[in-house]
C-alpha cells in the first residue's frame, strides 16, 4: 500500500538489499564491545550480593588488594552523591541517585546479585579470585519478593526515603499510582449482558539478548574518558555515566560497538562507570564483561505483575465497561513500566466507561529495564484473555468481536487524545484472510488462539549527516546503534532520495563526538525518527546539489529540477547531469557537500499487531507445542521488508517463550535459582515453527515516508494468543505465566476432576 504522503513509487525503499554491515558479521570481523582490546588493558570483575535484602555493615578489601595481579578495587565510596530527580531516558525514566545505588550498593543490598565492589586485575581469572578475598559483613533482612508482600501492612521497607503523593510522609514500597478513567463505570456494567472478572499473574522475564553487557573504560590523566561498549544508546551512556561519576558530559566519549541484542535491556548503564572508575585508579584501560549469571541476576529484566480485570459486554458484542487494577514489580528501585501497561491494556478497543488504577511497587529483585513494548505484554495477557472469553460468551468469532470494538482514526486513546490514522483493523483483517486462519485445525488437544496488541512507538531526538563524496557516492552518519538492520534502512532512504544505488551509500553509526545528540535505539524509533533525520539531511544535501548544478549552468536554483539522481535545467536543451557528473565539480563550486539534520520527531504513529497461534497440548504432561503461528503487524511503510518481518518474527518468538517457559525462579531466601540459559528456558530452534508474517502498510501521516516503527508491538499478543489457544485445546483458562507443564498439568487435572465431579453429580 502506498504511503499517502509519498508517491508510493519507490526505487529502493521496499526492496531487500544485503545489509551493509552483513559481511563483517558473517565473517566474524564485526567488533562487539567484548572484542575490544588495548595495550596494557586490565580485566575487571564485580563482587555481587548473595543476599536479596541486607544492610552492609562493612567491606574489607585489604586481602584482595594483596593478591598478586590485583591493581585496584572500587566500592560505592568511590562514587559521588548523585542527584535525586527524574530524567527521561529512552522508554524509561531514571533517577540518577537510584542509578548510582544500583551500580554499586551504598548502605544496602537490595537484590541477589546487587553489585558491591569491582576489581581490576591483570587477568579475568585473577580478578575473579580477588572477589573471593573481599570480606563483606551483612545484616540480613527479610526479602520482599512480590507485590503482595511489598504492599502488606508492616512490610519491610526497601528504600527509607521513598514516598508517594497519596501516602504523604509515610514510608512505603509503592512508588507511584497512576489512574485513568472515563465515563460512568457503574452504568457501563449495568448495561453489560456479560461480565467477566479474573486475576492474572505474570512472572518476571528477561530480554535474553545473547551478548552479555560489556564495557572498556579508558580514563586519561587530563580528565577525559572514553567508553567502548555495546549499548542501545551511546548518548544515554554518556549522560548517565557523567551523572553517576560527577563528570562533565563533554569529558566522556562513548563509542558504540556492534551490539549483540538489547530489546530494551541495553538502554541503561551497569559496567560503564565502573570501567572508568577502575581506569582512573589504575591509569590503564579496563574491560568488564558480565557472565550470563550476572546478566540474569543483575541487569534489568521486565516486571512480574498482578493484574485484575473486570470487563463487560452487551450480548451483541459491544464492550461497555472495564475496571482494571494492576501492580508491577519495579525491582529494587522505582520505575516499572506499569504506567505504559495501563495506557496499553485496553488501547485496541473503544470502551466508553473505564477506570484503570496502576501501581509501581519496589521489591527485592533487580531493577527492571525496558523490554520490547515495556508493560504491554503483561497487560495484553490479561485483557486479551477476557476479550476472548467475552467473545465466546457472545458466540462471536474472536476476530469479529475485536473488529466490532476496534479503535480507528478519531477514536479516543486511553489517555484522552484521539488516534490519528492507525492499522489495527487491517491487522485483524490480515489474520482473518490469512491461509492460517482460513485453514481448519484438526486433531485432539489442539486449539487456535488469537490476540491483538498495541504499542505507542516513540519519537525523540535524532541527528543525521549525509556526506556526498567527490565521485558521487555518499555516506550517511547517524547516532543510532544498529540492533537489527537499521543501517541498511538509513542507506536505503538516502539512496532513494538522492537517486543513488544503495551500495553507493555507506551507513555509519558514529560515536558521541562525531554526530549530534541521538536518543536510544528503542521505542521502535530508529527507522521513524532517525529515518526522519536522514530524510531531512538528504533533502538538505539535495538543496545544495541543486544550487551547485545551477551555478555550473549559470542558472537560478529554481530553474534546476532534480529527478531520480539527475539534474535537469528548465528551458534550453542542456543535457541532464547526474550526481556522479556533478560531484567532481564540488571544489570549484564551493567545496564539499554535507547535508545535515537534527529532529525532535513529532508525528509518531502507534503500532498494532494481531497474532494467531495453533497449539497442541500433551494431556498427560501439560507440555505445549506451538504448531503454527502467524502475525499481522502495521509497519506504516516497510523500508526493508526482510528486517520488518525479522522484527515481527523475533518479537513473536520472545512472546512465545514468555508464554510457555520463561520465568525468574527465586527461592524463599530471594536467591535466583535459574541464572543460566539451561534453566532460563528461551525457545530453541526446535521449539518453534516457521513464523508467518502479514506486513500491513497503513502509512503514518506524521512521517514523510509513512514509517511507524516495527520493533516492539510484535511481542505483545503472543502470550494471550497462546492462553486462548490452550483454552480451546483443553478447556483450561490459564491466568498465570509461564504456562509451563507443571502449571498447566495442575490446572488440567483440577479441571478434569471438576468436570468428572459435575458429570457424576448430574
Amino acid at each position: 500500500m502506498a504511503a499517502s504522503t509519498t508517491t508510493g513509487n519507490f526505487r529502493v525503499i521496499g526492496t531487500r538489499p544485503i545489509r551493509h554491515d552483513g559481511v563483517d558479521k558473517v565473517t566474524g570481523r564485526a567488533k562487539y564491545g567484548a572484542d575490544y582490546t588495548f595495550p596494557g588493558m586490565l580485566h575487571g570483575k564485580v563482587l555481587r550480593s548473595p543476599h536479596a535484602h541486607a544492610n552492609i555493615k562493612s567491606i574489607n578489601i585489604d586481602k584482595a588488594l594483596k593478591l598478586p595481579g590485583v591493581k585496584a578495587i572500587v566500592t560505592s565510596k568511590d562514587l559521588p552523591q548523585a542527584e535525586d530527580k527524574l530524567e527521561q531516558a529512552g522508554e524509561m525514566v531514571v533517577n540518577p541517585m537510584y542509578l548510582s545505588m544500583n551500580i554499586l550498593a551504598h548502605e544496602k543490598v537490595l537484590y541477589d546479585g546487587h553489585a558491591i565492589a569491582a576489581v581490576a586485575a591483570t587477568s579475568p581469572h585473577i580478578a575473579e579470585e580477588a572477589l573471593r578475598l573481599i570480606e563483606v559483613e551483612y545484616e540480613v533482612l527479610p526479602p520482599v519478593m512480590t507485590v503482595d508482600v511489598a504492599t502488606r501492612p508492616g512490610a519491610p521497607i526497601l528504600l527509607k526515603d521513598l514516598r508517594n503523593k497519596e501516602e504523604g510522609d509515610k514510608e512505603t514500597n509503592v512508588a507511584q499510582h497512576y489512574q485513568f478513567k472515563r465515563g460512568d463505570l457503574a452504568a457501563g456494567f449495568k448495561a453489560a449482558d456479560y461480565v467477566i472478572e479474573r486475576e492474572f499473574n505474570t512472572a518476571m522475564v528477561h530480554q535474553g539478548y545473547i551478548e552479555p553487557h560489556n564495557a572498556v573504560g579508558i580514563y586519561n590523566s587530563d580528565g577525559q574518558a572514553t567508553i567502548y561498549c555495546s549499548t542501545q544508546g551511546a548518548f544515554d551512556v554518556r549522560s548517565l555515566s557523567a551523572q553517576v561519576l560527577g563528570m562533565p558530559v563533554g569529558h566522556i566519549k562513548v563509542v558504540p560497538a556492534e551490539i549483540g541484542g538489547g530489546f530494551g535491556g541495553k538502554t541503561t548503564i551497569y559496567l560503564e562507570p565502573l570501567s572508568v572508575l577502575l581506569s582512573k585508579k589504575t591509569g590503564a584501560p579496563v574491560k568488564l564483561v558480565m557472565s550470563r549469571a550476572e546478566v540474569l541476576r543483575a541487569s534489568g529484566p521486565t516486571s512480574g505483575s498482578k493484574i485484575k480485570v473486570k470487563m463487560g459486554a452487551t450480548k451483541d458484542g459491544k464492550l461497555v465497561a472495564a475496571e482494571i487494577w494492576m501492580a508491577y514489580e519495579a525491582g529494587a528501585f522505582p520505575g516499572s513500566p506499569v504506567g505504559a501497561g495501563a495506557m496499553c491494556i485496553i488501547a485496541p478497543y473503544t470502551v466508553e466507561n473505564f477506570q484503570i488504577d496502576a501501581y509501581d511497587v519496589v521489591v527485592n529483585r533487580p531493577k527492571t529495564a525496558a523490554y520490547r513494548a515495556p508493560g504491554a505484554t503483561n497487560a495484553a495477557f490479561a485483557s486479551e484473555t477476557i476479550i476472548d472469553e467475552l467473545a465466546a460468551k457472545c458466540g462471536i468469532d474472536p476476530i469479529e468481536f475485536r473488529l466490532k470494538n476496534a479503535v480507528k482514526e478519531g477514536a479516543a486513546q486511553v489517555v484522552g487524545p484521539p488516534f490519528k490514522r492507525i492499522g489495527l483493523i487491517q491487522t485483524l483483517e490480515g489474520i482473518k484472510n490469512s491461509p492460517h486462519y482460513k485453514s481448519k485445525l484438526t486433531g485432539k488437544f489442539r486449539g487456535r488462539g488469537v490476540a491483538s496488541g498495541f504499542w505507542f512507538n516513540a519519537g525523540m531526538q535524532s541527528s543525521a549527516t549525509v556526506n556526498i563524496h567527490a565521485d558521487g557516492t555518499a555516506s550517511v552518519v547517524t547516532g543510532s546503534p544498529d540492533i537489527g538492520g537499521s543501517r541498511a534502512s538509513m542507506a536505503m532512504i538516502t539512496a532513494e532520495l538522492l537517486g543513488l544505488e544503495v551500495t553507493d551509500v555507506r551507513p555509519i553509526t558514529a560515536d558521541t563526538d562525531s554526530i549530534g545528540h541521538t536518543d536510544v535505539t528503542g521505542g521502535s524509533r530508529v527507522t521513524f525518527a532517525t529515518g526522519m533525520a536522514v530524510y531531512e539531511a538528504a533533502k538538505d544535501a539535495e538543496r545544495q546539489l541543486i544550487e551547485r548544478a545551477a551555478k555550473l549552468w549559470e542558472k537560478k536554483p529554481d530553474e534546476v529540477e532534480f529527478r531520480d539522481g539527475k539534474f535537469y535545467a528548465k528551458g534550453n536543451g542542456v543535457p541532464p547531469m547526474s550526481i556522479k557528473q556533478l560531484a567532481p565539480r564540488f571544489a570549484r563550486t564551493g567545496g564539499p557537500i554535507t547535508g545535515r539534520a537534527s529532529v525532535n520527531a513529532r508525528g509518531v504513529g502507534p503500532g498494532f499487531a494481531t497474532t494467531c497461534v495453533d497449539v497442541e497440548v500433551d494431556p498427560d504432561t501439560g507440555k505445549v507445542q506451538v504448531l503454527r503461528c502467524t502475525i499481522a503487524q502495521d509497519a506504516g511503510k516497510a523500508i526493508h521488508p526482510s528486517y520488518v518481518e525479522g522484527q515481527m518474527q523475533g518479537g513473536t518468538a520472545q512472546g512465545l517463550g514468555w508464554a510457555l517457559n520463561e520465568e525468574y525462579f527465586y527461592d524463599d531466601k530471594g536467591t535466583l535459582r535459574n541464572f543460566g540459559f539451561l534453566d532460563y528456558r528461551m525457545p530453541t530452534c526446535l521449539d518453534l515453527p516457521m513464523i508467518e508474517t502479514v506486513v500491513v502498510e497503513e502509512a503514518n501521516p506524521g512521517h514523510p515516508l509513512g514509517v511507524r516503527g516495527v520493533g516492539e508491538v510484535s511481542i505483545v499478543p503472543p502470550v494471550a494468543a497462546v492462553a486462548n489457544a490452550i483454552f480451546r485445546a483443553v478447556g483450561v483458562r490459564m491466568t498465570e505465566t509461564p504456562m509451563s507443564p507443571p502449571k498447566l498439568l495442575k490446572a488440567m487435572l483440577k479441571h478434569r476432576g471438576a468436570t468428572q465431579h459435575s458429570a457424576a453429580a448430574d
Partner: protein, 89 residues
Amino acid sequence: MPTVVIPALLRKFTGGLERVDVPGKSIRELIRHLGDRFPGIDQQLLEDGDIRPSIAVSIDGEIATGGVLDAVSENSEVHFIPALGGGEV
C-alpha cells in the same frame, strides 16, 4: 479558548472537573492560568519552570516536544499524560 483535559489524579485540584477552558497562547500560559484558578495544580506539572520529565504533553492529538514553550491555538485540546515509563499524573 483552549481546553485542558485534567488527568484523573489531578482532578482533586479542580473539584472533579475533567475539562477546563483556560486562556493562553502557550503551554506556559495555560499552566499559569490553571494554577491561578486551581492553586497547586501547576506545581504538579512543573519542575524547574518546565514540564516534569515524567510527563508528556499532547496538543491536538500529537505528543508535543517543546515543553512549556509549545504554542496552542484558540480551540486547541491539551492533555497532560505520563511519559513512556514516566508517571506522576
